[in-house]
Subunit: 260 residues, 2 copies
DNA sequence: TTGTTGCAGATTGTTGACAATCTACAAACC
DNA sequence: GGTTTGTAGATTGTCAACAATCTGCAACAA
């Protein structure tokens, strides 16, 4: 867990001082809402999604506790929440491992995500304001610029932002939470493929623009259909990328993992 | 928490003896997979979904631990998992409460569920075998008999079974898990309305038969549309039921709850 | 009578200790 | 040389104790 040696979780007192700009009631609120458990959970989730901890990696509770300067209890509690959130997997008496999402599972996730994306498109077409549509258009322009410049590091965050914003504009918090959960889970799969190269860079961002225009036109059926197809295309591209690298074992995945 | 005084969680040793029918490897398997934490979680989840513990009820960790004959640690861990599963809500320093799903949240859940139901219908039409379609037909017949007999206690479990089976036949485990989570959450809302009477009994089960026939005909679009409409009708019926009782406070909900 | 303060008890959050289990390695045996 | 057994150390699961926080009630002041 050498990757855990470089980041230190702020203590609750640190949070109190840095949260002060908006007044004492915010600091009180923060302390009211955050236990060590929730802070540990947030930090571990951040690291997992950032790729600082990789799928298959073992999370040693004593090490985590020592590094974050808490006792093992809150770490264990955080593990249970992360497990229920689908980010880690517990093997009794052996430890907790960052969850590995298999190809079959990723298939399912993509399929479900496409279904959610369809609903998102339909609802966003009905509910997004004109200002919000303009916001989407601006994001598409940024993505086009990043794609033209072949700027991978800029493109992917923009893509994530675009889709998350869309999900927000559907105006259904439960849908947004479900969608985000799927995206998090896909990170556990995509991290493996991204480590293998940048084969999934899109040829064009025309689809994004078409989606936004369907929403602007309040055409719910078209918006939903376009988003569904868009999500299914993402899935196909990942399959193709995996087929190309299946013939050589990935050298980056030799860390300690649980048995398959 | 008087409702918790009547049921005792079997100890791990008890499970070992009752799990013996299929041989020692099942007992070993069970011990390998179950910690006190997971057993406590399962038991609490069972009680919540069964309505033995009601939305808004406070779960006292010392009481739970005493009744289930474990220490507070595993109970706390189970609470964290249940919280992440959306079944309880934690207020720091005040305790854990069974989650109450508001009308607004229920609206969202129903809307999302309708979207999932549509996807389920489409996938089931593509993937269900002829034998599985026959199984659905049999369930519909049973539901029709219960409806004719006005047998509420028989009808609702059949209805739940029918829809869960449909979700299974979609052939996507991630979709099934997401669907079940929504159903569990709706229990937190429906328990309140069911306590107010049986106003939501369906007038007819013709919709279920139509859905199954669309699946039998492999008409994915129709099956999806019928299931979507079916789910949206469920939502409308619950709204109507709530409007009828809004004028009188429910006498059953005077137990200790958290402040709103 | 109303509002404020103090305090006891209950409860939650965290910690450290102990027991149980697993893993890796060395020694013994075939 | 290959297999089995035993053991030490690491790690996980649970428990009990302590500290912190909250709640309800009584006493006091205005």
């Amino acid at each position: 867990m050498s990757s855990m040696a470089t980041v230190i979780l702020p203590s609750p007192h640190d949070n109190m001082t840095t949260a002060a700009p908006t007044g004492p009631s915010s600091a009180i609120d923060l302390l009211r809402r955050h236990s060590l458990t929730s802070l540990v959970q947030q930090e571990l989730e951040r690291r997992i999604l950032a790729g600082d901890i990789l799928p298959g990696d073992k999370l040693n509770e004593a090490d985590v506790a020592a590094e974050l300067n808490v006792s093992r209890g809150p770490v264990r509690e955080a593990f249970r929440a992360l497990e229920q959130a689908g980010l880690v997997r517990t093997e009794k008496n052996r430890g907790v491992f960052v969850r590995q999402v298999s190809l079959e599972e990723a298939d399912e996730i993509y399929e479900l995500r496409a279904g959610l994306d369809e609903l998102i498109g339909r609802l966003a077409a009905e509910r997004a304001s004109d200002g919000q549509v303009a916001e989407l258009r601006a994001l598409v322009v940024q993505m086009q610029e990043a794609a033209s410049a072949k700027d991978v590091d800029a493109y992917y965050p923009l893509n994530i932002r675009f889709h998350d914003r869309l999900a927000q504009l559907a105006g259904n918090g439960t849908l947004l939470a479900a969608y985000r959960r799927l995206i998090n889970e896909l990170h556990l799969y995509r991290r493996r493929t991204l480590a293998l190269g940048h084969d999934a860079f899109p040829k064009s961002t025309r689809q994004h623009a078409d989606i936004v225009e369907a929403i602007a036109a309040r055409d719910a059926t078209l918006a939903g259909e376009l988003l569904y197809q868009h999500a299914m295309k993402s899935r196909s591209r990942l399959h193709e990328a995996l087929e190309q690298v299946d013939l050589q074992p990935p050298p980056a995945l030799v860390r300690e993992t649980s048995k398959p």
